[in-house]
Point group: C2
Chain length 341, copies 2
């Protein structure tokens, strides 16, 4: 059992890509649970594109992480000490946002317990049944409103959110076309996840490929990427298209002003709806989404993949994988081992 | 009574601004009403920003006007011949889309009669109770969903649609800030129409002025203009802002690619909704909007202004006034005189 608390501290705001020196790994004393508190040892740390947004001092949906603060992050862990009713040592918990560190002390606010004995691997609660899975579920179904027979396009299709969105859209009877950055990713989403087609944007002109794969136009675009890919999609949207705007990862590392899509006018011409959303707006409905997604998982209708890298010390370099397009599925850092079953 | 039918025919698609030679005024024989048809003499022709869109061969919400065809336009007229049950000579009618010409022959499809004896001037049915008024009504209330106490920003505030939007928003208890292109326009919407403030974008930095006039941020932006003005608004939107996208007049004459708003990312960060709409989607609900708007007119809660130019021959030059910002209120061409009362 570790006797210190390693913490990644934000030292300066990245300019463009994250560089050495933006974050520093420091050793702090291992904290103790006080009265009415629990001490949680981090098992998994979630790495997400939005981490990069939090490092920037821009107007965003949460306050940015301040210089000198521990980097913010979603975690799952095990209770090591409990002075709080309702929590026992050994409970597996998701402490809201735990941060890039070995330990979290919490008074229980926002902490949810993972039910034991379901036979569901813990990493599912950090992916398909966690915030990313819920992002796919509520973003697609509530904002995208897909109808059977419609065409749904998903960018970052092999990512944690995109891969789930496509499968839900298939369950709902849609034609699903993914966009991803390698033949391996495209093969995975088509052969294993059941997408109808996937376009490798590094090899093909996306607009031409979309014309081929979406002969009836595009009704729903679950947008994770922005930039040229969004522009190509906007060119082909049908009347009354819905665009849940989940992410704009192509722009998060950008320096200077980034123009919006050149086909912005098609939002008007096609009477389309573009709606940004953040999964925290649906927090109160997570149980509903988890119930249906859990059912689909149990029935084998829904698959997921996690890409787990080892060691808290690897977090910044691992985060890069989201921006270079290296990873497939949900990216996690294994900070410490799962308790023996 | 005129014995020929003057028609403005599209000869070539404008490049940028409309130029001489793009449209030609030709003399055609005066048409006759056949069996089951009516002949309508045009009294008013509506000039609207969307006319410019119709001249372009781009993907849009209706087919473009073809080269050699009479230019499309909304009209109001009087029945001169009737071989159709339900229509009498002297009836005042709105024939769906009549076109830039002296006469329209119709089989009655889509033709609505203006009820006589209401004491409402005819030009109201081409403005506040016509398509422009309904655009304001349904766009603001259905898509913008303004709530009392919220801040609504309206671009092209002295235009036919914008001036009506602002008044409806005031009726609904909102703070209303207009953006217009002259002190005269700003004075009109504030002093006569009751807007809380109006920014002259030709004299002031719009972003700075919006910061001053919208101390609580922007909840609804009824967008008519696009470009830099939309960018400034997006910078200041609140969480869950709604942006009915009614027009993008700043870009209709543009040559080449036009970048979308640089603050596009705020649609994500602020979980905003941008929704394009075209008033024809609400055609079936016009009676509902006209009833409530008519009531507000009668109660003096709603004012309107028409900018009427004389003579069909002036139509192309008059259309320019929408793009140079010369006109205030609804722009109409008086093609022939109203019947004596």
């Amino acid at each position: 059992m570790r006797n210190s608390n390693r913490q990644w501290v934000l030292r300066q705001r990245p300019e463009g890509d994250i560089s050495d020196g933006d974050l520093e790994l420091v050793d702090a004393p291992k904290p103790e649970a006080g009265d009415g508190e629990i001490l949680i040892r981090t098992i998994y740390l979630s790495l997400d594109p939005t981490n990069r947004i939090w490092m920037s001092d821009m107007d965003q949906y949460m306050p940015p992480v301040e210089i000198g603060d521990v980097m913010r992050g979603g975690t799952l862990g095990v209770v090591e000490q409990s002075n709080l009713d309702g929590f026992d040592v050994g409970d597996i918990v998701v402490p809201g946002l735990g941060g890039w560190q070995d330990y979290t002390v919490s008074d229980g606010t926002g902490v949810s317990k993972i039910p034991a004995g379901l036979g569901i691997p813990l990493d599912a609660f950090m992916s398909v049944l966690g915030a990313t899975g819920m992002t796919a579920y509520f973003g697609l179904l509530e904002i995208g409103q897909p109808k059977a027979g419609e065409t749904v396009v998903v960018s970052a299709a092999a990512g944690a959110v995109g891969s789930t969105v496509g499968q839900i859209a298939k369950i709902k009877g849609c034609r699903v076309v993914g966009i991803a950055g390698s033949d391996e990713k495209c093969k995975w989403v088509v052969d294993d996840l059941g997408f109808d087609a996937c376009i490798n944007y590094k090899k093909e002109n996306v607009l031409e490929a979309l014309r081929r794969e979406c002969p009836n136009g595009i009704d729903v675009n679950f947008e994770n990427v922005g930039g040229e890919i969004l522009d190509a999609v906007l060119t082909l949207i049908n009347d009354n298209a819905r665009i849940p705007l989940c992410g704009l990862i192509s722009t998060y590392n950008a320096e200077g002003d980034v123009p919006g899509p050149y086909m912005f006018r098609n939002i008007l011409m096609k009477r389309a709806r573009v709606e940004g959303f953040i999964i925290i707006d649906f927090l109160e409905r997570f149980a509903e989404g988890q119930a249906e997604m859990g059912q689909w998982l149990a029935e084998g209708k829904l698959k997921y993949r996690t890409d787990i890298v080892d060691g808290l010390e690897t977090a910044p370099k691992a985060l890069d994988r989201l921006f270079t397009g290296e990873n497939i599925g949900k990216l996690l850092v294994r900070v410490s081992d799962e308790p023996a079953a």
